[in-house]
């Protein structure tokens, strides 16, 4: 299992459209993937789960992956969360 802390940097936070993209990415991995914030942990392959965290701009989250391809998953998803989202500000 790998857990990594990161900060969401985009205006609307993890709104539905970036979240849909994130899920599509996360779903490509066999590993279980979760996002944790303030002791709440949701399945990161579920749109409703992500939306219910209502992650806003500048908030810290923990990205967790567990499974055979966990390290690639963390790498790709982190780069999406930290850089990719900026474009849609």
């Amino acid at each position: 299992m790998i857990a990594k802390e990161m900060t969401i940097k985009n205006k609307s936070g993890l709104d539905s459209k970036p979240a849909v993209k994130f899920i599509q990415k996360a779903s490509n991995y066999k590993s279980g993937i979760w996002i944790e914030r303030d002791e709440r942990k949701v399945n990161a392959k579920s749109l409703l789960g992500l939306l219910s965290l209502s992650i806003g701009n500048g908030e810290k989250i923990m990205l967790i992956a567990d499974g055979e391809d966990e390290s690639q998953a963390i790498l790709e998803l982190q780069s999406y969360l930290e850089s990719g989202l900026e474009e849609i500000i």
Binding site: K11, S12, S16, S46, G49
Partner: protein, 578 residues
């Protein structure tokens, strides 16, 4: 009967006179009993069918909205489809049925309400807008699971009515749009950038948001007038109200006719200065409309939407044919073909059709550069259609010079590949860029020398420039009149003009007659807009002199806020009924 004036937030303009109809969403009885153990399987089945039917219903709605709305509805429906296909969500509901022995409808209701509660507690205004979508989904699943699947209340609605709703959901907006109702007033759900408002604006139906449903629901079947421009709802209007609004309605129709009669004249100011009015198009139908309205060219071919209408990414040959068709239709008029802008907002729908842009990153030209084969193929297709007319190529969301250099290498490669196939060398194609980010704007000085022209994508630019302290729910349609934004746009225009590069403004701003006047006054000679707006813009520009537009632009740039800009514009343009 008392005559009442109510003020709401105008989100879609136009005037409507008719009978008030208070829409009551059907209360669905939710069975809160405990399920008999033997029937649990049956409830799972009912859930599956409910979800499947809801998915199909959304597909139907999407298809029935017609081609014009494909782009907007795609945005909405991808989110819906993802939620309905969310296996964790469905598993959760199933667990509630199995473990808590809830009936399927009760389980859906409880499950979605939990998510809504979490979202309500947050302070993320963007995500809060999604609550309307979740309610919409929940209501539809419940209805699809119930015995009574009819939408009986909708059946009584007809075009001469103005409809009051508590919460305007996108699917209700679409359904009312299809009924061609005379107007809609909503308590919630119809903020300017809500999915519902977007749909109704494209259909030209007047809409107000923030109209208190609990207050107006007493006036069912009373005569009303809706004014989607100034934001008024008049209940029990007197004769003078009705006469006044009837005159406006008539003059709107007359204005449309008048404009139509002038359509074949080029766009000129009153004192004879020429303005290029081009069209933004997303499909061949809009290209026909552009020709019909005598557009001076096509300022933007949104190729990603051409593909979306087709349901898949066409191969290179198919793309060449598509583009050539447009090019030939436009004769020798200039056409700007923009490579596919695929990303967050403009995702291609049709998830069940094989559509395979391996791009799942955020919106950026970098996606295209990473996904080079597809990018190359598109560029080759554009280069190949260039021989039929006056074609330029442009690229979305350009931020910096590095991107342009990389793009140019790809173009060079594409040219070499075409030549290698033994096709004789063709004319050099003009290369442009869409400036729609702050970064792109800041880097304009070094970008311009590398380009033949630029296009300002004001919709995205607006988000980037004013995005900072803006709550989505409060964004109004006139934000582009913000003097700060006007200054930013003017800076781009004058930089391009100084370097002798043509600059065209694309986006909702160019399609707003009053804003178009300012843009022309600021030195933008090319405006590109939805073909349906061409006649309006031509009309207003023909009533002013060049000097007048310049004065208006100068005065607006000095204003302290949106209100002041609008006051100046209203004073000068009011008599033309813009």
């Amino acid at each position: 009967m008392d005559r009442l004036f109510l003020k709401g937030l105008p989100v879609s303009s136009g005037v409507g006179i008719g009978e008030f109809y208070v829409f009551k969403s059907k209360k669905l009885e939710i069975n809160q009993d405990t399920v008999d153990k033997r029937k649990i399987k049956n409830e799972h089945l009912r859930l599956n069918n409910g979800i499947k039917n809801t998915l199909m219903e959304f597909q139907d709605l999407k298809n029935n909205l017609g081609k014009k709305l494909v782009k907007q509805s795609d945005l909405i429906f991808e989110v819906y489809e993802t939620i309905l296909g969310d296996s964790f969500f469905i598993e959760e509901i199933k667990n509630l049925i199995t473990e808590k022995r809830y009936y399927a409808d009760n389980a859906v209701d409880i499950c979605i309400k939990r998510y809504i509660k979490d979202i309500e507690e947050s302070d993320n205004e963007y995500i809060k807008q999604r609550i309307f979508d979740l309610n919409d989904i929940s209501m539809r699943i419940l209805r699809n699971m119930s015995e009574d699947k009819t939408v009986a209340i909708l059946e009584n609605i007809y075009h001469k009515q103005i409809i009051a709703v508590r919460e305007l959901t996108p699917s209700l907006a679409a359904a009312l749009g299809r009924k061609k109702v005379s107007g809609i007033v909503a308590f919630e759900g119809a903020a300017y950038f809500s999915h519902s408002a977007i749909i109704l604006r494209s259909l030209g139906i007047p809409v107000l948001n923030d109209i208190n449903y609990d207050f107006v629901n007493k006036f069912d079947r009373q005569p009303v007038v809706i004014d989607g421009k100034d934001g008024f709802l008049i209940i029990n209007p007197d004769k003078s109200d009705v006469d006044r609004y009837r005159t406006i309605l008539k003059s709107n129709i007359k204005k449309q006719k008048e404009l139509l009669s002038k359509k074949f004249k080029p766009a000129l100011t009153r004192d004879g200065y020429r303005i290029n009015i081009s069209a933004n198009i997303s499909d061949i139908g809009e290209c026909d409309e552009a020709r019909e309205k005598n557009a001076d060219g096509i300022g933007l071919v949104r190729t990603e939407l051409l593909f979306a209408a087709d349901g898949k990414i066409p191969d290179e040959r198919e793309q060449t044919l598509m583009y050539s068709k447009i090019v030939k239709k436009m004769g020798n008029r200039p056409i700007v073909i923009r490579t596919a802008d695929v990303g967050e907002e403009k995702t291609l729908g049709y998830s069940d059709v094989e559509i395979n842009f391996p791009i799942q990153n955020s919106r950026s030209i970098k996606n295209s550069l990473v996904n080079k084969e597809q990018f190359l193929a598109q560029i080759r297709a554009i280069l190949c259609c260039a021989e039929f007319g006056n074609v330029s190529i442009s690229f979305p969301l350009i931020n910096d010079i590095e991107e342009i250099r990389e793009i140019k290498e790809v173009i060079k490669l594409a040219e070499d590949q075409i030549e290698a196939q033994g096709i004789p060398p063709f004319k050099r194609i003009k290369i442009g860029a869409f400036i729609e980010t702050k970064q792109g704007m800041n880097n304009l000085d070094e970008l311009l020398p590398e380009l033949d022209f630029i296009s300002l994508g004001t919709n995205d630019l607006l988000q980037h420039t004013l995005g900072k302290d803006r709550k989505q729910s409060r964004v109004k349609n006139d934000e582009y009149f913000n003097p700060e934004f006007l200054k930013a746009v003017q800076l781009c225009i004058s930089k391009a003009n100084q370097q002798n590069k043509s600059v065209s403004v694309c986006g909702e701003m160019a399609a707003d007659p009053a804003a178009a006047v300012l843009l022309f006054g600021m030195g933008a000679n090319d405006l590109s807009m939805s073909p349906s707006k061409i006649l309006d813009v031509k009309g207003i520009l023909g009533k002013l002199s060049l000097a007048e537009t310049r004065q208006l632009a100068e005065a607006s740039l000095e204003c302290s806020g949106i209100k002041e800009v609008k006051r100046i514009l209203a004073k000068k343009l009011g008599k033309f009924k813009v």
